[in-house]
Symmetry: C2
Subunit: 394 residues, 2 copies
């Protein structure tokens, strides 16, 4: 599947490691409508600050991305570097530098060297191709073990529109956007405010509903470029039905990528959906689900395949959600492990332990207080997580 | 060191495991003024609910404590059990059952059997002795690797007053009191409101300033009995100077125990003081210190002895504390690793890595925004933590 007007490429620039793809470029043959969502962390990396500034115009034509170094916490030199490499790319592509978005991922707090960019950007531009997206998905990997890329087409009033999106992210993953990068390109014709709305909404309900370790990063970025090459009737505020079709497609693409991120969570051996139902209010349900999803004791019990529902109650009890303990029921998939705040016995526990052996299962906590619910996707906490993160920079 | 009028004992009751002390009793030969602080978790174990109810009178004479089972999430049967075992102890001791406090620690969500209590309480009462406190400190251990007990005397206007306190706690440790039990006995003569004030203050600045994993428990309890046997001039609201002496002693006892808990944190290999200085407001400083102290990525970097200050910046950035990234400096003990939000270079990093090999060090984050500061004591996150918690119930 191609996305009309878009091409991509990746090269080995030796930014931190040798012999691996670490510099990527995504390019549209015409300026595209562009929308983005960036980290909520107070510490924002240079490329994020630059990206926010440039995206005010709602337009972009290229994304230059490197792994190995996040260009975060580098002060003015970091900002200058981000501008400088964007200028290099713009010159080589012969486009306005304001239309170049830069993204970086990797180690925080080390100055990024311009030399590998200067050396490799000509080759990068030369090798742009419709088939280059898989290489970029590889180039943005850090502790990821697999590249993450999703393609989807959607029929809008008889015109086929394509979406291609890739993501990276494996640790430092938490709501408010996970340490992740996601780039999506689509040939849909759409106006900026509608695209921005769809992207913001979809991020909130997909990437902001996953967690690996509760940490958020300085570089989280979701960027979408829509170049209109498909030639569909323009998606704007006056056509909510056809816009909705595209919004659903974008949402499902993000959902697939978000799930891939959790499944590939650092050291993860299983993906667990935490569903809190019967809450009095939505915010409380989400807070409760996130608190449980980030509890080290709950996550180590997942790893140990131990249906230790007491730890779930304890995590729930320190969340900001109102509930009465004697109304709570807890189920692992369809096995009810606790009712009215009390354990359902040894047989239920044996069955729940069997459920936990699965690669993926759903933990449902019903508060029996109201009608609100929320879901968060998390993974277990294994020894491998510690190994990966204790040795990350060595 | 004895504490006048107090005795203690522990026995093997086989509550969960055989051949280990798991049932303890602390007793005052006269009713004592008693103060307590209990978990803020919305899910409170039966003994906590009973303890809060009984402590309204500000009096207690005995504490019955078991390990192996937390008697939490057990509904009405759990409450009935807590009352029943307190009655057993009261009868054997020939005191009012309202003066018996019960505490439990261990697995959540399993009904506690009364039989081991019925069988062992007579022997427990028979073996009460002034020297029995070390045995109780052993009996309350769960994943603790060492018993934690502190003794202190303080001279109040010529009268020697003694304090003996013990604690347990190793995992599920977070501010709002850590999953911990702490029992202190003192022969000081003191009025209830003054004692309660001292205990609440001391807990806030000691046990509420440590964290192992950010989880809080259903059973956290600090109980202090003061029986007046020392015969000092009574500590009351009209004598702030002499009260202050005692308050300082109590604070230092709690501080010592809190430190022992972190050092014995599940799988911990080092104790790290997180000090946030130069904050605009106190609450922000504390929130920032706690966020850093609980970040899995920061804690795994401690374990890896990697001065990965970027992760510290990232954790700081997701806290609720206001700061400007380009003003922040970070130091490992006396080694400045970052200034004005930027790294201090490779030599500083090598020196900081050397500091991190120590069993204990201080991480100072200066925001350079104001005059407020806060400290939290934490430990690193090792593979052993995962092992302990994945296999806890098996």
């Amino acid at each position: 599947m191609k996305v009309k007007g878009f091409s991509a490429a990746a090269v080995q620039a030796g930014i931190r490691y040798q012999d691996r793809l670490d510099l990527g470029l995504i390019y549209s043959d015409r300026p595209a409508v562009a929308a983005g969502v960036f980290t909520t962390n107070r510490v924002k990396a240079a490329p994020v600050l630059l990206g926010i500034e440039r995206l005010r115009r709602g337009k972009a034509q290229a994304i230059l991305v490197n792994s190995g170094n996040a260009n975060a916490c580098n002060g003015e030199p970091g900002m200058a570097l981000a501008r400088r490499v964007s200028t290099m790319a713009a010159r080589q592509l012969e486009i306005d530098e304001e239309l170049v978005q830069v993204a970086s991922t990797g180690v925080i707090g080390e100055q990024l060297d311009a030399a590998p960019f200067a050396q490799q950007i000509p080759a990068l531009v030369d090798s742009l191709s419709e088939d280059g997206f898989d290489a970029v998905a590889r180039a943005i990997m850090t502790t990821d073990t697999v590249p993450k890329i999703v393609r989807k087409t959607v029929d809008i009033d008889g015109t086929l529109v394509s979406i291609l999106a890739m993501a990276k992210g494996s640790g430092m993953i938490m709501p408010n956007m996970a340490t992740m990068l996601c780039f999506a390109v689509t040939d849909v014709q759409i106006v900026f405010p509608v695209l921005q709305g769809i992207v913001a909404d979809s991020v909130e309900n997909t990437f902001n509903r996953i967690t690996v370790d509760g940490d958020t990063s300085t570089n989280d970025t979701v960027l979408v470029m829509a170049n209109g090459a498909a030639g569909n009737e323009c998606l704007d505020e006056d056509h909510p039905e056809r816009t909705e079709l595209f919004a659903q497609a974008m949402h499902s693409v993000f959902q697939e990528l978000a799930t891939m991120i959790v499944v590939d969570g650092e050291g993860a051996t299983k993906a667990v959906t935490i569903r809190v139902t019967g809450a009095g209010e939505k915010g409380g349900a989400l807070n409760a689900a996130r608190t449980i999803a980030n509890s080290p004791l709950v996550k180590t019990a997942f790893f140990g395949e131990d249906p230790n529902w007491g730890r779930i109650m304890a995590a729930l009890g320190r969340s900001d959600c109102f509930f009465r303990p004697d109304r709570v029921s807890i189920a692992f998939d369809d096995v009810v492990m606790a009712e009215q705040g009390m354990g359902a016995g040894a047989e239920a526990e044996r069955e729940a332990a069997r459920v936990m052996r699965r690669d993926a299962f759903t933990l449902t906590i019903d508060l029996n207080e109201g009608a609100e619910s929320a879901e968060v996707l998390t993974c277990d906490f294994s020894k491998e997580y510690i190994t990966i993160n204790a040795d990350y920079r060595s």
